[in-house]
Amino acid sequence: MINLVSRADELLESKAVQVVIGYEAGSTGKARPAFITDPSKTGSLIFDDRCVQNLAVYLTKKEVRYFGKAAIVATLPIMRSIMMLISEQQVFAENIVVLGVSAEGKYIDIAGIEVMQQYIATCDLGNPAKDQETLAMLNKMSTQQKFDFWQKELSKCIKCYACRQACPMCYCTRCAVECNQPQWIPVQSNLHGNTDWHILRAMHLAGRCISCGECGRACPVNIPCHLLTMHMADQVHNYFNVYAGTTDKMSSVMSTFEPNDKESFIQ
C-alpha cells in the first residue's frame, strides 16, 4: 500500500486535506476505520481483505466534518456511496479527495469525480455473486416459504439499528422510525415492529442501495437484511436499467419516472 500511504502523506503534508479516512489494524486481528490527521501517522494505514466497513458513512458524520476536507480510501462500493451522497447534496465534491482501491486491492489514482465515474463505469455493478446466488435461491421459493424465511430471520431483530447506522445512505437526522406522530413503526422489537422496520428500510433504499452489504454485516444477530436492499437494487436495474451511484448527478429512481415504465399488475 505504498501508494496509498504516500498519497495520504502528501495530501496531509500539503494541507490539501485535513483528515484521511482509511483503515488501520484493530484489535483481535480485525481491521477498523481510522482517521489520520497527522502526516507522520499515515504509516498505520492498511488495506487488505479485513477492511470491510463502508467508510462513506463517516462523510456525513458531524465530528468527522469538523476536520475540514477529507481524503477517503474508497473501494467500489464506497465510491458509489460517494456518488450518491454528492447526488443527494450531502457531500460536496470539492470537500473530498478519493483514494481509490481496486477490487484487487491496488491503489488507483482518482483525480476527480469524472475519473471516478469512468472507473465505476468499467466495473460490474450488480450485487456480489454470493448474495446474488442467495437472492436467486430465495426468489425460487413459494410465497409462504419466503414469508416463513423472513419471519424467522426478522424475529431475531432487536432494533439496535446497526443496519441503519452502518449504511452511508441512511444519513437522515431523524429517521422515519423515530417519527411518532404518527408512530409509523411500532417501537417494540416484536415481529410486527421488526417486519415494518425492515420493509421501511428497504423501500427507502430502493434506487439508492449500492450493494455494499454493510447493513447485513453490521447486524449483531446475523439477519441477512442486506438481501432486502440488494433485491431492490436488482429490481431497480431490472425495471429501470439503473445502477445507483454511477455519477454524481444521479436522478433518484424513486423521485423520477418515465411515462412508459413497464408493469403488469395495474388493472
Binding site: 409462504q144 423472513w150 432486502l228 433485491h231 411515462p259 415504465d261
Partner: protein, 150 residues
C-alpha cells in the same frame, strides 16, 4: 359460524377514482359493501406504509386506485405512484407478503361501472383467499417474555 366477510380498504385519489366511485353511486350500480374508501388528493400522496398498516389492523385486502396515466390532475402524481408500487410489489413478493391481496388499478371519473367491477372482483378474490391469517398472526406475535392481558 357466519361466512367470512373480507375487510377491504380502498386508497383512491380525489380526482379520478373517488369521483368515479361517486358516479357508480349516481348510476346506482350495486357492489359489495366490504370495501371502504379513504380519499387522498392524489395517488402520489399514498404512503406504502399505510397499506401495511391496513393489513396490520385487520384488512384482508386493499385496493389502490387513481387516474389513468396521463390523466393525473397534478400531471404526474400517478406516474410517481406507479414506480413506487412497482418497487413495493417487488419487495412484498420477495418477503412473501401476498400481493394477490392488493388490487392496483386505474379508474377514471367516468368509469363508474368499472369501479364496481374492480371492487367486486377484488372482494370475490379475497373471499376465496380467506382472512389474511398469517399477517394477523405476525402482528399478534408477542415477545416470549411478554405478559399479555388475554
Amino acid at each position: 359460524m357466519s361466512e367470512f366477510e373480507p375487510k377491504v380498504v380502498a386508497f383512491v385519489c380525489n380526482w379520478c377514482t373517488y369521483a368515479g366511485a361517486d358516479l357508480t353511486g349516481t348510476s346506482r350500480i350495486r357492489y359489495a359493501s366490504n370495501v371502504k374508501i379513504i380519499r387522498f388528493p392524489c395517488t402520489g400522496r399514498i404512503d406504502f406504509m399505510l397499506l401495511l398498516k391496513s393489513f396490520a389492523n385487520g384488512a384482508d385486502g386493499i385496493i389502490v386506485s387513481g387516474c389513468h396515466p396521463n390523466d393525473c390532475h397534478y400531471t404526474s402524481g400517478n406516474f410517481h405512484a406507479k414506480r413506487r408500487w412497482i418497487m413495493f410489489k417487488e419487495l412484498m413478493d420477495f418477503m412473501g407478503i401476498d400481493m394477490n391481496r392488493i388490487t392496483f388499478s386505474w379508474v377514471s371519473a367516468a368509469e363508474g361501472a368499472r369501479w364496481a367491477e374492480v371492487v367486486n372482483t377484488t372482494v370475490a378474490r379475497i373471499r376465496e383467499l380467506g382472512p389474511y391469517v398469517s399477517y394477523k398472526q405476525m402482528v399478534n406475535t408477542a415477545v416470549e417474555e411478554e405478559v399479555t392481558n388475554d
